[in-house]
Amino acid sequence: MQQATHKTLYKTHGWIGIISGILLFIVTFSGIPALFEAELAHWQTPNNPVLNTDKQDFDKALLVAQDQGFEHSTFFLQPANEIDGNIYFAHFPKDESPSHIIKINPNTYEIQPPATSDLAELLAHLHTDLHLPNPWGRYLVGLSGMAMLLAIIAGIFIHLKWRKEFVMLRAKRSWRLLLTDQHKILGLWSLPFTFILAFSGTILGLLGLISPILAVAAFNGDVGKATEAVLGPKAELTQEYIPSQSLNQLVIKQKESMPDMDFNLIFIDGLNDKNGFIKFSGGHHSKLSNLESTTYMIATGEAVHHGSFIGKGPFQRIFASVTPLHYVLFGDSWLKVIYAISALAACGLIVTGNMLWLERRRKNLQTSNDHHWLGKLTLGTCGGLVVAMTVAIASSQILRIFSFGEQQINIEMGLFWGSWLSFIVLPFVYGNSFKLSHLMIRLVGLLFLVTVIADGAVNDRWIWDSQGWVLNIQCGFLACGFLCFYLDFKIPKYKQSKTNKEPEEDSESGLFENHS
């Protein structure tokens, strides 16, 4: 590769990282709880049932819901599964009025009390939409994914000595070399996962933005028509009463017609309407696709549409596999853990990249990066997010002592945003960034331990008595807590300066310095 090309790629890699790094950290780090959203949702509500029946009676569940005033004709039905043992009925109004959600225990068919914590949704929504208005948050997430993809591509081309860099960690030479080696090691080892996450995340984030472009080409700009071609037709309701068929019978029919599909959502549009539809959506049980669906007339049971991406062209297969690849809807839970570790490595990659850029700039400008606003903003935003997440996790259990009921959801949100904002401001007030980062790591470790203890004391779910997903989540929190204490111990307490006079074997740094 020509030196000029190498230099340009190196500069581009650095600037993409600097411009999008903090946003990328927010999206990547919040992706870890988003990966375990269902598991966290199960853990956050201590009285959640565990599914112990083979057959769920949806007709009976619907009658129970209707007895409780669930009188909607258009709604979603989510069956109980091995993680979340509730049957959900949910109606989302088209206007701004609040949604109506009812939870039913599939073992006893009793109504479950509404959730007092919304922790899983709080953290997952940060990953998918950054808590910004729809669709702008989603687009921003997609653009950050694109930035990550571009940085990865340049990173691959500029790190030509990858065999050596796979294992090279010069921990005792200088702070800058330590950062350089950590950045390369984290990037190389997590490369396949970060590439998959970046590519699939970009598609998921920007699909809404490119849909009109694709619709212009194939459907004269009619996005609705394009959506219908992909996802099937919509019901045209007549308001003419015809009693709907039994939901249980329709489930049997669906299983007979598409035996390879594991449905996880039912959408009923027009219950007891002559033209009402019932749509089963889910994934293929052995292939990468979560876009399998089948739609029936709810009054007659006549099949309207079968949507399967299996056996279709390569590009339909690519799109069908995007969500399963991004959220690990395949393999077992250990694969999710590997994804989570890779996401953590990507976070380390972003932080070390930012610090490296500041180190090189500091050398050029002869200043300390402790005083650079970007260093403070990186520490406050990235470190603050980690602290705020653990504050929200710990508070989801501690707040149960005060029996706030549904009000707890707002308090959790207030604590999350309040602590994050405080930690964004803190580095600008407290000058010693090294000391502050250690304090943050210790606080996070402590909060994880407090969470496990609070869970035991408040809900009587001590770790030695727990089982299933509750035990897995508690073990996960303990592991994260101990990882924090280990990092606190291993990360230098102050910046090591280079003591020997050997030149630093950082081949790219010279290229960068000349142009930064």
Partner: protein
Amino acid sequence: MNWLKEKIESNTSKVIAALFGTLICTIALTIGITLIWHFGDTVEHIFAGGTFFFIFWAGLFYWTILAEKGSNAWLRIFSILIPVAILDITMLLKPFS
């Protein structure tokens, strides 16, 4: 005129070409590939366009940013954009003629 020439040849101009010029070029290319893709059904054409969108964007970004100066970057953009835009317009207007 010298002022304009300087601006077009500048690094800022190259970065603008890489960020925004490539986006417009990618949109034109995506419409083009969706229109001319003849394998599979209409849904396959849409998804082919959707996949190529990201490949085109990433590829064009680096092709543009690796140009020697801003004017070369814009030249690369227009060398793709003009023929593809003509192809798109011709194919989109075809059903009406």
